[in-house]
């Protein structure tokens, strides 16, 4: 195991970086999409619909979505990205809706009373107050995305998932276990690192008034 890692450490680090890059990028895009959607949905009072759709979306297995996307996006990183992004949107959307709705109505009223426009109420009052809840959604999404990115490696997505599938195809060979272990543990370690990073981000970005 040790020799295996030492021989390939550059390749492994590169693939780990690719894995993390895919997940971070997809989650970042998903956060923007989800927050915009949540703002729209709470505005139009369609929260029930949004929650039902996200519950249905979360039910669809990741591997099935990979199969559904393949004809449209082909083999490779695009499929992996869209797939990861799709799942990443859902928990964030759910939490963003809850967070935005949870903002105290009296606060909104006083913000409007101060003469703030609808947009600045959203950006300067509602989003900062909802941020901790949204961030919890982002953490859930990131964890989920790690596993989905691993599955997407079956259609030549980037990242550590390919090690797992290489291990699978070499079963019986001497390196099968090494490949599978590096792939699996690598994803676990990356997931923990990203989760910690998000905790830190939460510390820094939560506005002072509601920091616990």
């Amino acid at each position: 195991m040790w020799d295996f890692i030492k021989e390939r450490h550059q390749q492994i680090l590169y693939d780990a970086f690719q894995h993390a890059y895919l997940v971070v990028l997809a989650v970042a895009v998903a956060t923007v999409i989800a927050v915009l959607l949540a703002a729209l949905v709470t505005k139009l009072r369609l929260t029930g619909l949004a929650n039902t759709l996200s519950a249905i979306g979360l039910t669809i297995p990741g591997f099935a979505l990979v199969g559904l996307l393949m004809p449209a996006t082909g083999i490779g990183a695009t499929t992996a990205f869209i797939c990861v992004c799709f799942y990443a949107v859902l928990p964030i959307l759910r939490n963003a809706v809850v967070g935005l709705q949870g903002v105290d109505a009296t606060l909104l009223e006083s913000a409007r009373g101060m003469g703030m426009s609808e947009l600045s109420v959203l950006v300067r009052v509602r989003l900062p107050l909802a941020w901790p809840v949204i961030l919890a959604g982002i953490r859930t999404s990131t964890q989920m995305s790690m596993g989905i990115a691993a599955i997407a490696a079956y259609v030549i997505g980037p990242g550590l998932g390919s090690y797992i599938f290489t291990g699978l195809s070499q079963i019986g060979g001497k390196n099968a276990l090494n490949y599978a272990l590096v792939g699996t543990l690598g994803v676990v370690i990356l997931a923990l690192i990203l989760d910690l990073a998000l905790l830190l981000v939460g510390r820094v970005t939560t506005s002072k008034g509601i920091r616990v």
Binding site: N51, T59, A64, I151, I164, L168, I171, T184, V188
Partner: protein
């Protein structure tokens, strides 16, 4: 598919106070959510699945398929895989409940209470492992069998049920437990007749999460030869036939939606009348 599919903590479901959550406004709105949503899901899901399935049958009967596609999508093969998939899901879920609920009960008794957060923490970290990696590692260790697949699925479905059992039991009002003891009930009958019934909605929410996780993960066990609808999807991808891929993916998605619906029906049917 790592971690939980239930971003809203089950503890905030009606009738139970679980985790102490700072913002009361957020809590209140969380409480209202599930009612409307679950009603919609109960209605929407079966309609959606039936429509998708009718569409699939119509497409399968009328589409112009070549011989490879026809053999990959032959009805008897699909039916056999469907049955396998259901079998994997049901067996794994039953084992999950049989392990996680008693374990959860144990972890909320007496001194074991201290260990509960540690066990849940470890389980949480374990959930970060990708399902496919876990399944492949188990297959390297134990071989390509049905029970290897079941073990992988059980490990994967354990956390939601365990966590919700603990949260549910902790959320039971201690005065009710005391009242039960006060009228002369034994610890065992307090558990069976007061605590478990009150915690049941939360536990069942965990069971539903586990069911959906397991049915989705079961699509991956065809990589280790344990069958299920994943077989058709894998061969569709390997043969690079779009029709086979999409058909198999849709079938898997339909099955997952159906399982989610069954979980919700079960949840409703098992809800004790008092709550």
């Amino acid at each position: 598919m790592t971690t939980t599919h239930d971003p809203i903590p089950a503890a905030s479901r009606p009738g139970l106070s679980g985790e102490p959550d700072g913002n009361p406004a957020v809590r209140r709105s969380r409480l209202r959510l599930p009612a409307g949503e679950s009603a919609a899901m109960l209605l929407v899901l079966p309609v959606l699945v039936v429509l998708l399935f009718l569409g699939f049958v119509w497409w399968r009967q009328t589409a112009d398929l070549d011989s490879i596609e026809q053999s990959a999508l032959a009805w008897p093969a699909l039916r056999a895989q469907f049955v396998e998939h259901i079998k994997l899901t049901v067996v794994a879920s039953l084992i999950v409940v049989a392990i996680a609920v008693p374990l959860g009960v144990l972890l909320t008794r007496g001194r074991a209470r201290v260990v509960a957060p540690i066990v849940v923490g470890i389980a949480n970290a374990g959930q970060a492992a990708p399902a496919i990696g876990l399944i492949v590692l188990l297959a390297i260790w134990l071989g390509f069998t049905f029970w290897t697949a079941i073990l992988g699925l059980v490990v994967y479905g354990l956390l939601p049920v365990l966590r919700n059992t603990i949260t549910g039991l902790q959320g039971v009002d201690p005065t009710l437990v005391e009242a039960g003891r006060g009228i002369g009930m034994s610890a065992g009958s307090v558990l069976l007749r007061i605590e478990l019934p009150l915690a049941l909605p939360v536990i069942m929410a965990g069971v539903r999460t586990a069911l959906v996780l397991v049915v989705g993960t079961a699509a991956l066990v065809s990589f280790i030869g344990a069958g299920g609808l994943g077989d058709t999807l894998v061969s569709g991808i390997n043969l690079f036939r779009f029709s086979v891929m999409v058909a198999a993916s849709l079938l898997i998605a339909m099955l997952a939606l159906l399982v989610e619906w069954a979980g919700r029906v079960l949840e409703l049917a098992l809800r004790p009348k008092g709550i």
